[in-house]
C-alpha cells in the first residue's frame, strides 16, 4: 500500500511537470482539431441514393440560366458554387461532380456550334454517381445546342431578311410555347419509382494521420520533459527509486496521452457530430501511445544533452515513412510500411491487413519496455 501511495505521489509530481508547459498541451489539442476542420475531414455519404452535383456558372447569361432551369426540373440536386468552393466540395466528397460552364457558353460566334456549348467536368473518381451526373448534365446541354441550331437555320433563311432577328426569335418562342400547351412532348409513366430514400446520411471521416502525428509528438515531448534531472535525482534517492520512477513515468505518460486522445476526440465529436471512427480505433491509438512510451524510455538511455536530436530524427523518420505526415499509397501501408511503427498504426486504422497482429505488437512493446527498464536500472551515470 505504501509503495502504491509512493508511486501515485511520483505520478502526481510528474503530471505537474507536464502541466508546467500548457502551450504544448494546447497546441497538440488545437492543431489536429483545426486541421481536421479546415482540410482533413472528408465526407462519405453512406446513402448512395442521393446524387449531388455542383456547377460553376462563369457565363452567367441567358443560355446558362436556361441550362440551369432544365437541370432544376429533374431529380439531381445541383448547387451553384465558385470554382474554388466547387473544387473543395469535390475533394471533400460533398458533391459527386462539378461542371464548369465557361464564360463564352452559348455565345454565337464564328466557333463551331459544338464548341460554343461545350463544358468542363471535374470528378474526384470515376464511379456510377459521377457518370450519371455527367449524363444528366449533358442531356440538358444537347437541348440548348439543338435550339441554337434551329435559331441559326431560321436566321439564315432567305425569307429571314424581311424580319429582324428579334422578330424571328420571338415568333419561334411563341410557336414553341403553343406546341407545349398543345401537348407536344414525350410522356412517361413510372411504376415502382424508387424516389429518394429518406434523409441523407452523411458521415465525416477525420484525418487519422494528423491525430497519430500529434499524439506521437505529444508523447515524445512528454518523455523529454519528464527527464528533468533534479526531479529524477530526488526520486532515485528513495528506496526502490528506479523501479518506482520507471512505473510512474509510464503511468504519467499513459494518463496524459489518454487525456489528450479523449479530449481531442471529444472536441472533434462536438464539432463534427457525424464523425465516424473505424472499429478498433481506440485500441490502436492506445497501442500507439504505448509504442511512443517505449520509444521514450529507449531514448532516455541517451545522455540528456544529446537526446533531443536523435529522438526527433527517429520520430520524424517513422512518421514520414509511416505515412502520418504525408499520406502514402495503400500499397505502402500494406507492404513495407507495416514494419514501421507509424505505418503499422496507419495501416490498421485504414483497415488494411498486416502480418503483425495487435496482440503481437503489444508483446513487442512490453518486451521493449522491460528491456529499457533493465538497461536504465543498471546504468551507473545519472542522466
Amino acid at each position: 500500500m505504501k509503495q502504491i501511495n509512493s508511486i501515485i505521489t511520483i505520478i502526481l509530481i510528474k503530471l505537474k511537470i507536464l502541466a508546467q508547459r500548457p502551450i504544448v498541451i494546447l497546441l497538440c489539442l488545437i492543431l489536429p482539431v483545426l486541421l481536421n476542420l479546415l482540410a482533413g475531414a472528408t465526407i462519405d455519404r453512406n446513402n448512395a441514393m442521393i446524387l449531388e452535383g455542383a456547377y460553376v456558372d462563369e457565363a452567367d447569361n441567358k443560355t446558362s440560366a436556361k441550362l440551369i432551369d432544365l437541370l432544376d426540373q429533374a431529380v439531381v440536386d445541383w448547387y451553384e458554387m465558385s470554382r474554388e468552393e466547387a473544387e473543395r466540395a469535390l475533394q471533400l466528397g460533398q458533391v459527386d461532380g462539378v461542371f464548369i460552364i465557361p464564360e463564352d457558353f452559348g455565345r454565337i460566334d464564328e466557333r463551331n456550334l459544338k464548341d460554343i456549348f461545350s463544358v468542363k467536368f471535374l470528378i474526384k473518381e470515376e464511379n456510377i454517381a459521377s457518370g450519371l451526373l455527367m449524363e444528366n448534365f449533358l442531356v440538358s446541354v444537347v437541348v440548348l445546342y439543338v435550339e441554337a441550331q434551329q435559331q441559326l437555320v431560321l436566321l439564315n433563311m432567305p425569307e429571314a431578311l424581311n424580319y429582324s432577328e428579334e422578330e424571328i426569335l420571338s415568333l419561334l418562342r411563341e410557336n414553341v410555347e403553343a406546341a407545349k400547351e398543345g401537348g407536344a412532348g414525350l410522356h412517361f409513366e413510372f411504376y415502382g419509382d424508387p424516389g429518394r430514400d429518406g434523409e441523407e446520411r452523411v458521415i465525416a471521416i477525420p484525418d487519422y494521420s494528423i491525430e497519430v502525428l500529434f499524439l506521437s509528438v505529444f508523447s515524445l515531448i512528454g518523455s523529454l520533459m519528464l527527464a528533468d534531472v533534479d526531479t529524477r535525482r530526488r526520486i532515485l534517492s528513495v528506496a526502490g527509486g528506479p523501479g518506482k520512477d520507471y512505473i510512474a513515468t509510464i503511468c504519467t505518460l499513459m494518463i496524459s496521452g489518454l487525456v489528450q486522445l479523449l479530449t481531442m476526440n471529444g472536441i472533434l465529436r462536438l464539432l463534427m457530430p457525424e464523425m465516424f471512427r473505424p472499429e478498433g480505433y481506440f485500441l490502436i491509438m492506445i497501442l500507439l501511445l504505448l509504442m511512443m512510451i517505449a520509444f521514450g524510455q529507449c531514448i532516455a538511455l541517451i545522455p540528456l544533452e544529446n537526446r533531443v536530436m536523435p529522438a526527433s530524427i527517429i520520430l520524424f523518420v517513422s512518421i514520414t515513412l509511416g505515412g502520418s505526415l504525408i499520406k502514402l499509397p495503400d500499397f505502402w501501408y500494406a507492404g513495407a510500411g507495416q514494419y514501421i511503427p507509424h505505418g503499422w498504426v496507419m495501416g490498421k486504422l485504414l483497415g488494411l491487413p498486416s502480418l503483425i497482429s495487435p496482440v503481437a505488437m503489444l508483446i513487442i512493446i512490453l518486451a521493449i519496455l522491460l528491456t529499457a527498464y533493465y538497461l536504465q536500472v543498471n546504468r551507473q551515470a545519472l542522466n
Binding site: L38, A74, K120, L122, V139, V146, L171, V176, G183, A184
Partner: protein, 409 residues
C-alpha cells in the same frame, strides 16, 4: 587587381576551404548513413510500386452493369432509337427485346433493373404534336439503388425531351410561316430531329479538355515528398548555425574567416545534404516516368531549399536554447508545408485559407511541382504560368540571412 587584394582573396579562399573541409568531416558519416538509407528505401519503394495497377484502375469500368427489358409494341424506329441510346450508357449492360410477360418475369427475378413499354401508336402520336400516349417504365422493387440511378437519368431525359419535342414543333411551324412551304418545313424539321438524336448519342463531345490539373492522389504524393526532402537540409543548416552561436569557436571563426565564410560553408554543406536527399529520388522517378522534366523540377526544389536555408541561418542566430530552436524550426517548416499543400491538397482549404497560403514561400513551388508531375503522369497539357513566382522567397530570405544570419562583432 593589386597584390594586396589578390592575397586577401587567396587567404579568404583558403579559409573557406579549410573551414568547409572541417564542416564536411563532421557531417560525412551522417551523410553516408543517410545516403545508404535512402538507397535502401528507394529500392524497397520501387519494388513495391506496380505501375500496371494504375493502368488497370483507369481501364476498369468500376460499375455494376445492369440490364433492362424493352417491350416495343409500337413497331417503329422509336424503340430502336431507345436501345441505341441506352446502350451507350456504361452502366447498362444488356437490352432485352421482350414481350410483356417475359419482361415482368425478368424484373421479378432481378435480372433487369427496369422494363420499358412503348405502347402502340406512340410514334404517330408524338409526330402529331399531341402526345396522348405514354411510355411506361417499371422499376425493380429489389434493386432500389440501381433503379434510383437509372430513374434520375430517365427523368432528366424526359425533361429534355419535352423541351426538345416542343421546340421541334415550334421550329416547324415557324419555318412554315416564314417560308410558306409546309413540305420544306417538315424536311428541315426532320433534319433537325435526326441531328438531335445523333447529338444525344454523341453527347460526350460536349466535354472540354480540362485545363487545370485533374486531381490525382498519386501525382500529389510525389511533389509532397520531394518538397519535404528538399526542405530538410534547412533544419540541418539551422542546427549547424545554432550549435556554434555565441561560442568561443565562433569568435575564432570571426577573427580568421570573417562573417561570410562560415555562412557560405554552412549553405554549401546544406547543398550537399540536398543533393543526397533529393537527387537519388529524382533519378528513380525519372526511371519510372521518362517524360518528367527532371531538370526543371530540380531547379524548383533547389530554389525552395535555398530560400528556406537562408531563412534558417537567420533563425539559428536567435538567443534561444538549441532544443527550443530545433522545435521552433520544425514547427515553422511544418506550418509552411501545410500551407504549401504538401500535407493536405490545396483544394481542400477554404477560400480564405487558400489566399493566405498563396503568400507563403513554398506554395508556388508545390503547385508547380504538382503540375509538372501531373502533366507527365496523366499526359495532359497543363498551364505552366507561375514558375517564376516560385523564386520570390529567395530575395527576402537572402536579406534576412545577410542582416541576421552572420555573426557580427
Amino acid at each position: 587587381m593589386n597584390k594586396g587584394r589578390r592575397q586577401r582573396v587567396i587567404r579568404s579562399i583558403r579559409s573557406f576551404l579549410s573551414y568547409f573541409r572541417y564542416d564536411l568531416r563532421r557531417n560525412i558519416k551522417s551523410m553516408i548513413a543517410v545516403l545508404l538509407a535512402i538507397v535502401i528505401l528507394l529500392f524497397i519503394a520501387k519494388s513495391s510500386v506496380n505501375p500496371e495497377a494504375r493502368e488497370e484502375k483507369t481501364d476498369n469500368i468500376p460499375l455494376n452493369q445492369r440490364s433492362f427489358s424493352l417491350v416495343n409494341e409500337d413497331d417503329s424506329e422509336m424503340g430502336a432509337m431507345f436501345v441505341t441510346g441506352l446502350k451507350r450508357l456504361t452502366f447498362l449492360d444488356k437490352v432485352y427485346l421482350d414481350d410483356m410477360e417475359t419482361a415482368i418475369r425478368r424484373l421479378d427475378n432481378q435480372e433487369t433493373v427496369l422494363m420499358a413499354r412503348i405502347p402502340e401508336g406512340l410514334y404517330e402520336s408524338a409526330n402529331s404534336g399531341k402526345s396522348d400516349v405514354s411510355v411506361e417504365v417499371w422499376f425493380s422493387n429489389w434493386l432500389k439503388m440501381d433503379s434510383y440511378y437509372i430513374s434520375t437519368l430517365i427523368k432528366q431525359f424526359v425533361v429534355s425531351a419535352k423541351h426538345s419535342i416542343s421546340s421541334v414543333f415550334g421550329f416547324q411551324k415557324t419555318y412554315a410561316q416564314l417560308s410558306g412551304n409546309e413540305n420544306k418545313a417538315w424536311e428541315e424539321t426532320t433534319k433537325i430531329t435526326i441531328d438531335y438524336l445523333v447529338t444525344v448519342l454523341n453527347r460526350m463531345s460536349f466535354l472540354q479538355k480540362n485545363e487545370s490539373p485533374p486531381f490525382a492522389m498519386e501525382a500529389y504524393i510525389l511533389p509532397a515528398i520531394l518538397l519535404l526532402l528538399s526542405s530538410l537540409p534547412g533544419i540541418i543548416v539551422l542546427m549547424s548555425t545554432a550549435s556554434i552561436r555565441a561560442t568561443a569557436y565562433e569568435d575564432r571563426l570571426l577573427l580568421h574567416c570573417g562573417t561570410v565564410i562560415p555562412l557560405l560553408s554552412r549553405l554549401l554543406i546544406g547543398c550537399i545534404w540536398w543533393i543526397l536527399l533529393v537527387v537519388p529520388v529524382l533519378f528513380v522517378i525519372r526511371g519510372m516516368q521518362p517524360g518528367l522534366a527532371i531538370g526543371k523540377i530540380s531547379v524548383l526544389l533547389f530554389g525552395s531549399f535555398l530560400s528556406l536555408s537562408l531563412f534558417m541561418t537567420a533563425l539559428g542566430r536567435l538567443d534561444t536554447p538549441m532544443a527550443t530552436l530545433f522545435q521552433l524550426g520544425s514547427a515553422i517548416l511544418f506550418a509552411l508545408l501545410v500551407l504549401a499543400g504538401a500535407i493536405y491538397p490545396i483544394h481542400l482549404f477554404p477560400a480564405w485559407l487558400r489566399r493566405v497560403a498563396s503568400i507563403t514561400p513554398l506554395y508556388y513551388t508545390m503547385q508547380m511541382l504538382y503540375r509538372f508531375i501531373a502533366q507527365a503522369w496523366m499526359k495532359v497539357d497543363i498551364a505552366m504560368e507561375g514558375v517564376l513566382l516560385t523564386f520570390w522567397p529567395i530575395i527576402p530570405s537572402a536579406l534576412l540571412a545577410w542582416k541576421y544570419g552572420r555573426r557580427k562583432v
